[in-house]
């Protein structure tokens, strides 16, 4: 069995590398765009809200994992478990409220009042 696995790896990787022709041309190395010649570089600037959404997802996903763990044995934990979970969820919900009011969840907002703290407005 091990011999078969090794033979498979050898044939598919090493043998194909030895047998395959290697003739790169500029057109061949272009990124595939359904047959048109690429005009724009692939890596460009993109809006930072995508990064924010991904980061927030990670944070709330960890919370959900804890909720799953509690939910699988919630009857055994009784009211004490419910209370502990509610306190934990409250802290994460506080984060959600802050993120919400700060505008990190807005997607296509034309204009919104920028958050200016007391000190900077006094300085201005």
């Amino acid at each position: 069995m091990l011999l078969l696995a090794g033979l498979f790896v050898f044939v598919s990787l090493v043998m194909s590398k030895m047998v395959s022709p290697d003739r790169p041309t500029p057109e061949k190395l272009d990124p595939y765009e359904c047959g048109i010649v690429p005009e724009v570089e692939a890596i460009q600037r993109f809006p930072v809200k995508f990064y924010l959404v991904a980061m927030l997802f990670v944070i709330f996903d960890v919370e959900i994992i804890f909720l799953f763990a509690w939910a699988s044995i919630w009857t055994a934990l009784g009211w004490y478990g419910v209370a502990a979970m509610l306190i934990f969820t409250f802290f994460v919900m506080e984060t959600l409220m802050y993120v919400w009011k700060r505008g990190a969840l807005d997607w296509n907002v034309k204009r919104r009042a920028r958050y200016v703290s007391q000190e900077t407005s006094e300085a201005a």
């Binding site: 003739r23 061949k28 272009d30 595939y32 047959g35 010649v37």
Partner: protein, 145 residues
């Protein structure tokens, strides 16, 4: 032909993945060739790859317009070696019944063609005969890639 060449030719013919380049009516016959009755899967060719990067064989099935010609050439260029081209049908081979300004009179003006399959459209048996002829030529060493 050395044993390595023979083995390479054998393996290349036994799983030659076509790239979808169905342009017009011949595409329907190509689909029929891949379907149940005339089965291309028995030759290892049932996967028509949408990406040219994963394809070996480009079956140009249909009329190639002047607008489509650079796209065809780019897709052909982006296929990795070894690659083969079958020109399926009369329009791809010579321009067919459309002897006009809008169509390329024969796809061999753009890409090098290995097999021409005549017909309007060629039935699945004809296309399969063309594909198997290509396999035979590769196995015999007439087409070196």
């Amino acid at each position: 032909m050395t044993t390595v060449e023979k083995a390479a030719n054998w393996s290349r013919t036994r799983s030659m993945w076509p790239a979808t380049f169905g342009l017009a009516c011949c595409a329907i016959e190509m689909m029929a060739t891949g379907a149940a009755h005339h089965d291309l899967a028995r030759f290892g060719m049932e996967v028509f790859r949408a990406s040219p990067r994963q394809a070996d064989l480009m079956i140009v099935a249909g009329r190639v317009s002047q607008k489509m010609a650079p796209v065809l050439r780019q897709v052909y260029d982006q296929m990795p070696d070894p690659k083969w081209v079958i020109s399926m049908g009369a329009c791809a081979s010579t321009g067919g019944m459309f002897n006009n300004y809008a169509l390329v009179q024969g796809v061999d003006q753009i890409v090098p063609v290995d097999i021409y399959v005549p017909g309007c459209p060629p039935g699945p048996q004809s296309l399969m005969h063309g594909i198997l002829t290509l396999h035979d030529k590769i196995m015999a060493g007439e087409i070196k890639r």
